[in-house]
């Protein structure tokens, strides 16, 4: 019993360090095991931690822990050191949108903190988080901590006085030094840090089947279109350059909003993008209309056309990359889609790769759009403060990253389990201009109308003008407080 615990604590500690990606597989296995033993007594771990303090070199991954901030903390040391740590006990309620495998990764991420502090994380994952939080803001029944749906909502909740500032809770020097400046400022309201990013993603990656597309990284967006078309023509039949899937239940249309945001950013630049996000750029303006039209051209060269795009679930977008014969050459999505490539597309590891969205206007070269998961605090209990401080550290974030399926907003986290994620993380970190998902930053009513507009436009491209005019009227009504 003690032996098992020893071994686990041992691995937990290694995860906190900076581990070469090749060892990711090993880390993954260990973390799964520690999730399974979630209920084990915390005291045991402290005892075990003392035991292993001097003998943590039993495995091949005995790399020295080199993370500069708190990376050197031993297993018996305190992940929540910045707020005192020690035996807190009690519990902290957390709500987030992460479900399924994401939920297991999040629980694995907080596990060392639980073991350390003796406090328990009561996590509820739900996609109906909006209902709970918007009801909670008015009724006062809120969890201690929450993964916030987006920066837009964070602003609203903070304005309502529900979110507590985190400036004195997290290690501000370390957080601002290691997190992309754009993300730090997105979480800041009136000079007070209100939301931290515990996970990030890069949008606008063009995925392809390595057995089908062999023309290399395109030099420009036009080059991508040309090479894609050429490949599709070689395949023949019904094959087209793109596959698009817009169906996503109540959020249907969001994949198309990512397309359009990508066009706005790369065609018209970050200034227009920011004005548009803030509601100061009309939808009928030439810049936004141009982006919609570029998306219209994508739909026109999409497998099955707009009707099929609306009928296809976004998770199934990539299935036709791997069918025989293939239905399309490129799929534009974030890294999460690779999971579906393997499960429902039948792709093997190494059978797919991506090329980043090429520049469209040289003035705005290197612009990248991304997203991320914000975390905020509603009740400043000692447990909640300690957990937030812990989640902001690279040690905590490297746990999720090591399990796969996430990129970190923190530069110090590099233990990606495979080359694809490593490449995506490099594209995220190397961005000259980084912009957050515009839709997630708009008022919810605006975002909702945006999604619906994408669906209507894909269904009937001739209605573009009336669709944009309607978005303008939503813009006028939804931005006013």
């Amino acid at each position: 019993m003690t032996g098992g615990a020893t071994e686990e604590t041992n691995h937990q500690q290694e995860v906190t360090g900076r581990i070469p990606g090749a060892l990711g597989e090993e880390i993954k296995i260990v973390d799964q095991r520690s999730t399974r033993t979630l209920g084990r007594a915390a005291t045991l771990f402290v005892a075990a931690g003392l035991l292993v303090a001097g003998c943590s070199s039993g495995t091949p991954s005995a790399a020295p822990t080199t993370a500069p901030t708190a990376g050197g903390s031993s297993a018996a040391g305190s992940p929540g050191a910045s707020t005192g740590g020690g035996q807190l006990g009690g519990s902290v309620s957390v709500i987030g949108t992460w479900t399924g495998a994401e939920q297991e990764s999040f629980l694995a991420m907080v596990k060392p903190w639980e073991d350390q502090t003796g406090a328990k994380v009561e996590y509820t994952g739900t996609r109906d988080i909006n209902n709970i939080l918007s009801t909670g803001i008015r009724s006062g029944l809120l969890p201690d901590l929450a993964g916030l749906p987006g920066p837009g909502q964070m602003q609203e909740y903070a304005k309502a006085g529900a979110l507590k500032p985190l400036t004195d809770v997290v290690d501000m020097t370390a957080y601002s030094a290691n997190t992309a400046p754009g993300l730090v400022s997105l979480g800041t309201i009136d000079n007070a840090l209100t939301g931290i990013f515990i996970k990030a993603d890069i949008k606008g990656l063009f995925w392809y089947n390595t057995d089908v597309y062999k023309a290399g990284d395109p030099t420009s967006y036009d080059d991508l279109l040309a090479k894609g078309k050429q490949t599709a023509d070689t395949i023949g039949g019904d094959a087209k350059t793109f596959c698009v899937g817009l169906e996503s239940g109540a959020a249907s249309g969001w994949p198309g909003s990512d397309w359009i945001e990508g066009f706005v950013l790369r065609q018209s630049g970050p200034d227009v993008y920011d004005k548009w996000t803030a509601g100061q750029q009309t939808w009928t303006s030439p810049e936004i209309k141009q982006a919609f039209e570029a998306f219209g051209n994508v739909i026109a060269d999409t497998y099955g056309g707009g009707k099929n795009a609306n009928a296809t679930a976004f998770v199934a977008t990539g299935d036709k990359l791997f069918s025989n014969p293939p239905g399309c050459v490129f799929v534009n999505h974030a890294t999460f889609i690779t999971d579906a490539f393997k499960k429902t597309g039948g792709a093997k590891d190494g059978q797919f790769d991506f090329t980043p969205w090429p520049d469209m206007n040289p003035t705005f070269a290197g612009a990248v759009e991304g997203g991320g998961d914000l975390f905020g605090m509603f009740n400043d209990t000692p447990q909640a403060k300690s957990l937030v401080a812990y989640l902001a550290t690279p040690e905590a974030q490297s746990i999720w990253v090591g399990r796969g399926g996430a990129l970190s907003a923190n530069k110090l986290v590099t233990n990606y389990p495979n080359d694809i994620l490593k490449k995506a993380a490099a594209a995220l970190v190397g961005a000259k201009v980084f912009r957050f998902d515009a839709g997630d930053n708009m008022p919810q009513a605006m975002q909702d109308a945006f999604f619906k507009a994408v669906v209507s436009y894909a269904q009937d491209a001739t209605k573009l003008d009336s669709i944009l005019a309607n978005l303008d009227s939503v813009q006028t009504s939804s931005y006013t407080p």
């Binding site: 996590y123 509820t124 739900t126 009801t135 069918s323 597309g345």
Partner: protein, 304 residues
């Protein structure tokens, strides 16, 4: 001759009658079986897809799996059952559902009896207003209720088992309009004579209720039990609102099931297996209570 002719024609008529009866029986069985097949087909599709590899589900219709080469797997079921917290969520669902089924049945029967067999001013109007409450969207009730029950009010909600009590009471409140409507509709149809003769024999309302009204209403109470059980068992919203924010360990199966797939739709194939797992108990309840839906359960007392 005339006599024999007459006999012949009677035989023919009788034969024809028997033949029409046989035709009718055939038509009856055809109609019932046809409807049953139509109703079952979508569910069969889900079941077959739930035992196929996800890649097959994405690329071919479920009916193709019926022909060789067969390729079935129970991996989805194994994964669902192995998920952390599924068993705990199942227990929670039972603990939420049983009280939330029994309390409204008890409360609704008293009210239905009063609406059926007592006379008082404004009775019909009160009844109709109560039924009209059915139309209220539950979403609009959450803010005022959570304010009263939560930290700004009596602190019933929050960490601890208090949220369970709140969910039982809430489901009772939400379920009562339909429960009262259904049971009253039935109790009013019970024969007047029975209650009148009981009154003459000196029986009070308490004994009329427990000895006559309640036993005679068994079929409708069984139907109500089934529906209330189902509504609560399949509820996601109320549980999420009353338990969700603070009591992750007390959440029911519906939420655990919705959480099997990731927020980005990964592993959605697990939901197919989960749908069948969560359906098991309601079906047992239906089978168990179905024996109360047979003719003559009311001892022939019902007017007609």
């Amino acid at each position: 001759m005339t006599a024999s002719a007459a006999t012949d024609s009677t035989t023919i008529v009788a034969n024809r009658g028997r033949r029409t009866i046989r035709w009718r029986r055939l038509l009856l069985h055809g109609a019932v079986i046809g409807l049953v097949v139509i109703w079952l087909l979508p569910t069969i599709g889900l079941f077959i897809n739930s035992v196929r590899p996800p890649i097959d589900v994405a690329n071919s219709g479920w009916w193709t799996a019926l022909f060789p080469p067969w390729d079935f797997t129970i991996a989805n079921y194994e994964q669902v059952l192995a998920r952390n917290g599924i068993a705990n969520a199942f227990v929670n669902s039972v603990l939420i559902t049983l009280p939330a089924t029994i309390i409204p049945i008890a409360v609704a029967s008293f009210a239905a009896y009063a609406f059926s067999w007592m006379h008082f001013r404004g009775r019909d109007w009160i009844f109709v207003v109560l039924v009209a409450l059915l139309v209220i969207p539950l979403q609009t009730t959450f803010v005022p209720l959570l304010t009263l029950l939560g930290p700004k009010g009596i602190h019933l909600l929050g960490a601890g088992p208090g949220a369970f009590v709140a969910v039982w009471l809430a489901h009772t409140g939400y379920g009562l309009p339909f429960a009262i409507f259904l049971v009253t509709g039935y109790m009013r149809g019970l024969p007047k004579e029975v209650f009148e003769s009981a009154a003459i024999d000196g029986a009070g309302h308490a004994s009329a209720f427990f000895r006559l009204a309640l036993p005679m209403s068994v079929p409708v109470l069984a139907a109500l039990a089934i529906f209330q059980f189902l509504f609560v068992w399949n509820d996601l919203l109320v549980a999420l609102m009353f338990i969700g924010a603070q009591n992750a360990g007390n959440l029911p199966l519906t939420i655990a099931i919705a959480n099997l797939s990731t927020s980005l739709g990964g592993d959605w194939q697990l939901l197919m297996a989960a749908a069948f797992i969560s359906m098991a108990l309601p079906l047992v309840v239906f089978f168990a209570l179905q024996r109360y839906f047979v003719r003559g359960i009311t001892g022939g007392a019902v007017k007609g």
